[in-house]
């Protein structure tokens, strides 16, 4: 059973239960750690590496979303080094695909854009990769734009863990990794997709969006997953 653990995050004494992560303990105490692949209600994969924190006594940086709290832990969530790495990470996210905010449905509601703004990222130092990527608009109601996908796998997880359809997954590897529906067939011909739209709601960028929406129009309802989890648990 879970027990109470006390730890220090950014100099603040914090109490948390032993099954909690550093991220949730920090959040509960008003300490913000930036995240992209994490979403309350979904399992954590530790893929975006934005929530890396320093833990005293550990040689390595640890992802706050996938690190359980421990007694006497001393965590630092903000340091020059961490901020520099976070800027690098956000920059790489922008560079590996084709993110053009001005023509994006998610403009002003984009988590990637918000992170860049928060870190005052005004320009890129490294060259952009400019991959040629397809847009899958075969689905009746939704569109997948690979150009804006950051491979956070929120859609994969929500579809698998909440909806139970597992329409989405990742194919390929390295920079050639792509989000695919039903083993790589067009979304519109998917036999597993229930068209529930959860993936569209949880997408942090404009990679998955509803047809007929114009630039900057949709307001996604990302924080609704925990309610769905709760509702599911109540059903016997």
């Amino acid at each position: 059973m879970s027990e109470v653990r006390t730890l220090v995050i950014d100099g603040k004494d914090v109490a948390a239960s032993s099954d909690e992560t550093v991220l949730s303990a920090a959040k509960e105490n008003g300490i913000r750690i930036p995240t992209l692949c994490h979403l309350d209600g979904l399992s954590d994969v530790g893929a975006c590496r934005l929530c890396m924190v320093e833990v005293e006594g550990s040689r390595k940086l640890l992802p706050a979303c996938a690190t359980k709290v421990e007694e006497g832990m001393r965590v630092t969530t903000q340091s020059d080094r961490l901020i520099a790495y976070r800027r690098n990470i956000i920059e790489l996210f922008f560079l590996e695909r084709n993110h053009i905010c001005a023509v994006c449905v998610a403009n002003n509601h984009c988590e990637l854009q918000a992170q860049a703004r928060e870190l005052s990222l005004t320009h890129f130092e490294l060259p952009a990769l400019h991959p040629e990527l397809a847009v899958d608009a075969t689905h009746e109601r939704f569109v997948l734009d690979q150009n804006r996908c950051i491979l956070c796998t929120r859609c994969v997880r929500v579809c698998d863990e909440i909806e139970g359809a597992h329409t989405w997954d990742i194919s390929g590897r390295g920079v050639a990794s792509r989000l695919v529906s039903d083993l790589g067939t067009p979304w519109g011909s998917s036999t597993t997709c229930t068209s529930c739209g959860k993936c569209v709601q949880v997408c942090p960028t404009g990679a998955l969006f509803e047809k007929g929406r114009s630039v900057a129009e949709p307001k996604p309802r990302r924080p609704y997953v925990p309610y769905l989890v709760k509702a599911q648990r109540r059903v016997p």
């Binding site: 530790g46 590496r49 690190t67 990470i89 790489l92 996210f93 590897r173 390295g174």
Partner: protein
């Protein structure tokens, strides 16, 4: 269906069909005492040079000459891959190199030496004398003890050389805790690269609560460029690995084991699955091993060609049938591995050490090696060295001894430049550090790693920027794409290195490369990404002037890189203002 019996003479050699065909009957086994045996290497290296035809030719010759006291056998790797096909005559302590299937270098040469007694030392016709040739005499064999001495496809050969005695002894005379204690005493550390204490890992798995069972996994997903230790061990003595796994299973109370072996090693897979079948038939695997209550089965799982599956959590995901991508640790597999059960994962070489640890005792192994690195290490010696091949040396031997004594120095009389250890997560060690002892700590302090045992010797024709670029290309190709720093970071680093090698970079690009490398190392999810910048860091540490030549002078000192300025016309024209 394939025809049985030897192929008709004169038909085109078809190694594929030959390997699949039932093994042709060798010569009639001698009735009286054996005067000499000719052991023909049948590992991948020599096979690719036609050693199966050498074997058949030797059999024919022995039969034709009526040599009833000479036996011809197929054996595993004899080590000196550079000079294959190899035939060893252990009774005379000789290894014959470059043996052909016919002609003066053919079987006649081996048989002449056998009948004529010892030839004049130093004569190439007489083969290499094992006790005098430093390639053989400086090695200490624990893991490779039986490699090249027994038939890898024969269980009888293995048991005749003391095989499965350690397992029988462990399950009948020792408690699981005693077995673990023996491994702890041996000081054995993981041979997959990281060097985690094996005994500690075993004890952790044994003490983890495993109500739904435990698993033992042998990691044979060897993928470092230039490394072939695990392949050779599996091709030469698969039973030794199975025995080590069964002992591990007994020690940690597991009943099931998996060998995760890459599909690119068809011969190793074939010999491994054959060995599993044999061991099950003879009761060394399966139910009630050696008449005790201990049950242990082993299954081979074939990897589908992803380097990252050598990382333990990715390997577990792959065995479970999922996408081969790593997950954050902790929890470590020792607590939560295959299907959430405590799982012991050891490399092939680590497992192959276990039978000797049990039969000769942990203290015996601890007597070999250095203070903190015990035992021996198998290396795949490759690159610009004369004696490329498979070697096993005691820990603490210096790099100089390995490269110049065992390796015979550089091929073609060229100048030594660096030796690369640890594969894509390792580093390059320059000439002035050659007297460094080979152990986990020394290699790490030099900016490289022990790694799984790939050792690539580089001569002065090698460009270090090109080397860094090669390994970065490998990493970006093999990144699974799960975490951003490795996925996009390796790609950007590769492009920066390409820019430097084309002579189009400035010092700003070098600074960007260094800062990016630091970020990727610190933030990547698994060892692949964390280690990917290592070749860049180590080449920058020892060969920064080469980078600067590419950047400031726009020349590649080794003449390897495709610099657009008239590099072909001669580097003297380049240069200019800095």
């Amino acid at each position: 269906m394939t025809a049985e019996g030897p192929a008709a003479p004169g038909t085109a050699p078809d190694t594929g069909a030959a390997a699949r065909r039932r093994r042709p009957a060798g010569p009639v086994l001698p009735e009286g005492p054996v005067r000499a045996s000719a052991n023909v290497c049948q590992a991948a290296g020599c096979l690719s040079l036609g050693s199966d035809r050498v074997f058949e030719a030797l059999c024919e010759q022995v039969t034709a000459r009526g040599l009833t006291d000479v036996v011809v056998r197929r054996v595993g790797c004899l080590g000196l891959c550079a000079a294959g096909p190899l035939v060893s005559v252990p009774e005379q302590g000789r290894v014959f190199d470059y043996v052909a299937a016919e002609g003066p270098d053919g079987p006649a040469r081996v048989l002449a030496a056998i009948s004529g007694g010892p030839a004049a030392p130093g004569s190439p016709q007489g083969g290499r004398v094992v006790s005098e040739d430093p390639f053989f005499s400086r090695q200490v064999k624990v893991v490779l003890e039986r490699c090249g001495a027994i038939d890898p496809e024969s269980l009888e050969d293995y048991t005749a050389s003391g095989g499965y005695e350690a397992l029988t002894r462990a399950v009948t005379e020792m408690s699981p805790e005693e077995v673990i204690a023996e491994v702890v005493v041996s000081g054995l550390r993981g041979r997959g690269g990281a060097g985690y204490p094996t005994g500690l890992k075993w004890r952790t798995v044994a003490k983890s609560s495993g109500s739904d069972g435990r698993f033992v996994v042998c990691n044979a997903d060897e993928g470092d460029p230039g490394a072939f230790m695990d392949r050779s061990v599996l091709e030469s003595c698969p039973h030794q690995v199975l025995e080590g796994m069964a002992i591990a299973g007994y020690a940690v109370r597991a009943e099931r084991g998996y060998v995760y072996v890459r599909a690119e090693y068809p011969l190793a897979v074939k010999r491994l699955t054959n060995a599993i079948r044999q061991a099950e038939r003879e009761g060394f695997l399966g139910r009630e091993i050696a008449g005790t209550q201990f049950n242990f089965t082993i299954e081979a799982r074939i990897g589908a060609g992803a380097f990252v599956c050598g990382e333990e959590t990715a390997l577990i995901a792959s065995i479970e049938g999922g996408r081969g991508a790593p997950r954050p640790r902790p929890p470590y597999p020792a607590m939560s591995g295959l299907w959430g059960a405590p799982t012991l994962i050891n490399n092939v070489e680590t497992m192959a050490n276990i039978p000797a640890v049990v039969s000769r005792g942990g203290a015996w192994l601890a007597g070999i090696g250095t203070e903190r690195s015990k035992g021996t290490k198998v290396f795949a010696l490759a690159g610009a060295v004369q004696n490329t091949g498979l070697i096993e040396v005691p820990m603490g031997l210096t790099l100089r001894q390995i490269v110049f004594d065992i390796g015979g120095g550089l091929a073609g009389g060229r100048r030594f430049k660096a030796v690369q250890t640890g594969g894509p997560s390792g580093g390059c060690i320059p000439e002035d550090m050659l007297d460094m002892p080979v152990d986990y700590e020394s290699l790490a302090s030099a900016g490289s790693i022990m790694g799984s045992g790939g050792m690539i010797v580089m001569d002065d024709k090698t460009c270090m920027v090109d080397v860094a670029k090669f390994f970065m290309d490998f990493c970006r190709e093999e990144s699974c794409g799960k975490c951003l720093p490795c996925r996009a970071g390796t790609e950007e680093m590769f492009r920066l290195l390409e820019r430097i090698s084309r002579g189009e970079a400035t010092r700003l690009h070098l600074a960007q490369l260094e800062s990016l490398a630091g970020m990727v190392r610190a933030t990547s999810l698994c060892g692949l990404g964390q280690g990917a910048p290592n070749p860049v860091f180590s080449t920058l540490r020892y060969f920064r002037d080469e980078y600067m030549a590419h950047i400031d002078d726009r020349v590649c000192p080794a003449g390897v890189c495709p610099i657009a300025v008239p590099a072909v016309a001669g580097p003297s024209k380049a240069g200019g203002d800095k």
